[in-house]
Symmetry: C2
Subunit: 136 residues, 2 copies
Amino acid sequence: MSDLLERLRGRGWRMTSQRRAVAEVLDGEHVHLTADEVHTRAAERLPEISRATVYNTLGELVSLGEVVEVSTDGRAKRYDPNAHRPHQHLVCSNCGTIRDVHPTGDPLADLPAGERFGFTVSEVVVTYRGLCPSCA
Amino acid sequence: MSDLLERLRGRGWRMTSQRRAVAEVLDGEHVHLTADEVHTRAAERLPEISRATVYNTLGELVSLGEVVEVSTDGRAKRYDPNAHRPHQHLVCSNCGTIRDVHPTGDPLADLPAGERFGFTVSEVVVTYRGLCPSCA
DNA sequence: TTCTTGACTTGGACTCTGTCCATCGTAGGA
DNA sequence: TCCTACGATGGACAGAGTCCAAGTCAAGAA
């Protein structure tokens, strides 16, 4: 994933210190951070980075398909840098911890044509909810 | 579903005109309204109903299991009065329209034990995304 | 190297969704 | 009919995110 910066540059991304800081935060340990957490961590490297820039940059990374937006509850969206391997999420209903999981089977095949109402279905998001070991 | 009011009364719910207005909005056509839309419709019947009351009442209906909260994106939560028949949702990525769907299969069975990380999984939320006929 | 320019960043105001709280009103039992 | 505890009110507040005008700077051109 350390070639994220290279891929972005290759796509004509203008490389600024702010974008680099955000990309490096996401490039680190694979956790699911909120925009605010990304901002806090980016600010450790680049103290004056603004919230607006973090939101802009995250939005661009999402459009480019480098990061996936995850909104598990009504709270803040989280940003998942593991965008290149399809997966679903397992969320603790109590503390909000998120784990990436890889279910077997194809949930899309489980939706009969008669239940599609003429929609062109392109994506299935599966969220498993429960209690993590610490909260159980 | 018109026995919603009866069920609520049976549970010791104090019946006020405001609660009745909210319940009747949800009791109507089966759509997935936001809290704000519920407020607007309830206000057509009871002009001075406050937002806080709508939020309180929706929260109680959710706790009582009469209504399900649906948060498909990071925007406003929607309230689904079809709480007594398990189902999933099909969402238009463009206009946000929601349809209830009933996939076959058991998605919970598709999550191998080795992928559960010690969680006690209790619920699976499946959201199909795509374009509705009007937006396609 | 310096210049130029349009893309990027900034921060503060603003919007939207939702919560909280002190006060007032009223449903429903005595 | 009266009481009172439960519910309603609305305004302040909070969290998440967007918008915008003005300032800054990356990177290609000369």
